[in-house]
Amino acid sequence: MSTLRALARAQAVAAGRAQPVATVRHLHLSDRPLVLVPLALAGEANAPLAVLVGAAPDEARLLVVPQPRNRDQRFAFAAELAGIVLPYLDSFRGVTEAVAVDRGRDVRHRYVDAPQLLVPNPAGITFLRLFGRSTRFRRPDGDHPVYPSVPLLGRWLTFFAERAEQPGSAALLAMTDALTLHWATGQSAVEDLHLPAVLGWLDPPPGSTGAEAALRAEDPALVPPAGPATDPDFDNHRLAPAIEAYAGAEDDPAAYDELAGLLRGQLAPTWELMWRGVGLMRALPPGARVAGRWAGDRDAFTGYAEHVDADGGPQPRRDGAVAAALRLQRLERALTAWAVQRAYDDPLVMAEHRLAGEAFVGEVTLADPKRVDDSGRRPVLRPRIQVVTVEPVPMPVGATLYSPARPGQKATVVFVTPGGDGKTEVVLELSGGMGRGLTAPAGSVPEVGERICLTSLSDGYLPGGVFPTPEETPWTHGGPPEHHDG
């Protein structure tokens, strides 16, 4: 928790309303996200009870498992859900674009848009992950055959759940996470897991404070929980009798309607909240680097669609040692890149880094844009600028800094001179981002009077490590990945 974000929470308490911690939206938001609000039966291993699903506020479809312990009904539910999710995914597989690879020597194609799944909270992501796990190894033949769409759904849900672990990916989002990335509530992180309470802080009903709205949202008798866990009182007093009545009535449509109506009543309020959350997010302008990260999600979607087309197998239960190490490294790099990109995109996020001594803002007081360094084999353009700041400058001489306004340019610290008046003078030597000649194009060197942010955070490419291929991995480290059959 950065002090800046903590301060925003304190301000939210005092104001009785959530406070912004971002000035731009850091996540891609689809025009047509698929919202899923799942419910699971208490006590079971991720047994689905119902889901409300659809890609528009007025397109909610309710799927119900009237006897959640019944295996056949569970897979029938999976097939029904596949009947909604798979066509939704396919609807993004129309238009592709060519992307240059290998320094323009080749091209590959990727879809110009990609699907986006939204669930209420992180537990909703876990639900999808486990539901994917319980369906992706199923087979349309053998002892317990299922519809062919069921394992396919399982693979796709697993794909989304894995994407959701990648920092900055927007393929599958928990609404609570997405909202609290942009606003600070006046409650704790634990309480922020409850979507109705978060929206209570963000958008309290007229006449009440965020705290009051959040409090009200905690009473399951007034506001049903956002799932997948149900309210125990609801289970004991309403759901259990309805399930029993249905079981006793042998497929009586009235008993089914009763049960379905009950579940819809638990899900519909969350459905409304999901779309209100979407609306709040849409009102924020996207950050400059959001599209680039979404392109990564589109790449991943394209890649997995090709894998499925090529009859590629389901994801293994567990990664082998090499795959696990690669994955960990990829996630770490994504995490770093995401933090840096958000800071570059958003002065309010950069402010957190300024407070932490990783960035400062100052005014350019001197500039020598024509300076050429001819001490080497051939002369190079190395302009210098002097920046005066009132913020601390803990960076040492020789450190390389960057400016979000000119991300392709490096600024090396040459002198740091603290003044008596709390100001610090910093002299920097610039390289890169100025063309190839010995004259800097207009605008490529900061001018006197310009307000500039300099940071040690780099948005550049971080090279990956080299790992042995699975075949070369010693058995002590997991060896080649195991085979999976079910």
Partner: protein, 356 residues
């Protein structure tokens, strides 16, 4: 002393304990309010209700049914499957058979449990529902027996059967943590039982066997949990509660936690006893909504990381006053105040639309 404790709870019987409630005693051990109420065996759910802050710790029928069914399945056939699971997990040869003693049911269970478990012998044996006890705040409490004690290769192992799934070798960490501390309660009680009979308490292993459904099926799978750390925490909290006299001394005269008392009186009495509310209380203590309400406006109610990031300043109002520079900081707050002022300035600057 028992009189005073009885008076505090309003004369009612002390609340019954099980491994879960004892385990819960270790949550937030720094909270005096909780230590006092738990020592007195006060009825915290009733108190919370009376105070207008009812706790929500309901359990779903579905979960209970499922738990019972799984347990019955694992224990079926005189524990043959159970024995195999435990032996294989411990890496000892699976015995041809084991004695099965159900200590539940009729009277005198304490004595029967003691006799059966301390009788010696080291043949393979399974003891179901042994009734164990622990001293909590100077009082003997009996634990609702929800375990099997397995004696294999001469050592006792606590076996806990839980119905949450282990999927691809992983289970919900919160549930595993809860199971570990509950098992530690049984390990401790079993050790004390042996020690009291003059036998070596170390005969009870700190490795407990957790049996859960495997993946999405009902097939049971056994895992080992090392509960040494949990035993330490538990001993520390029980020792603190054993010094219940010290706790009582700090109480204002006439302190009551009688659920029948007038709510305003009750609230006033409780406010006198220092609490240490943290968001974790919401999952661990029946008084959480009451204490949270009391802690409104405190940075600690936002969670420890928030409080720390705010320089440890306790009140939200003080944080904001220091951040805005409208209050002169106390000498020990100087550092926090500087940080808060810088944060407020940067935040305002960025929100005013100044580009970074």
């Amino acid at each position: 002393m028992e009189d005073r404790l009885g008076e505090i709870r309003g004369g009612g019987p002390p609340r019954r304990h099980n491994a879960r409630t004892i385990a819960a005693l270790t949550g937030n051990p720094g909270c005096t309010r909780r230590a006092v109420l738990d020592s007195a065996g006060a009825d915290k759910p009733a108190l919370a209700e009376r105070l207008g802050f009812p706790a929500r710790f309901g359990q779903s029928r579905f979960a209970i049914t499922r738990g019972n069914a799984f347990e019955a399945q694992v224990k079926a056939d005189g524990g043959v499957e159970l024995l195999r699971l435990v032996a294989e997990r411990l890496g000892v040869p699976v015995p041809a058979g084991a004695t099965w003693t159900d200590l539940g049911g009729d009277d005198d269970r304490t004595a029967r449990s003691r006799a059966a478990l301390t009788a010696g012998g080291d043949g393979p044996a399974l003891f179901d529902h042994p009734l164990l006890g622990l001293d909590v705040a100077g009082r003997r409490v009996h634990l609702e027996p929800d375990l099997v004690a397995a004696r294999l290769a001469g050592r006792f192992h606590v076996v806990e059967i839980k119905s949450f799934p282990v999927i691809d070798g992983q289970a919900d960490p919160a549930k595993v943590a809860a199971a570990a501390i509950q098992s530690a309660v049984y390990v401790l009680a079993l050790r004390e039982l042996l020690a009291a009979a003059g036998r070596d308490p170390e005969l009870v292993s700190h490795e407990v066997v957790l049996i859960c459904p495997h993946d999405f099926a009902n097939r049971p799978v056994a895992s080992l949990l090392d509960v040494r750390r949990q035993l330490l925490v538990l001993r520390r909290q029980l020792a603190r509660m054993a010094r219940v006299d010290d706790l009582l001394e700090t109480l204002p005269a006439g302190f009551t936690a009688d659920p029948a008392a007038d709510p305003a009186t009750l609230a006033a009495a409780l406010h006198e006893v220092p609490a240490r509310y943290a968001p974790d209380c919401l999952a661990a203590c029946e008084l959480a909504f009451f204490c949270r309400h009391e802690a409104r406006g405190q940075t600690g109610a936002l969670g420890r990381p928030v409080r720390e990031a705010l320089g440890g300043v306790p009140a939200v109002a003080d944080v904001l006053a220091l951040a805005e520079g409208v209050r002169t900081p106390e000498p020990e707050q100087a550092e926090a105040a500087a940080l808060l002022r810088a944060a407020a300035r940067l935040r305002a600057d960025a929100l005013a639309g100044n580009p970074a």
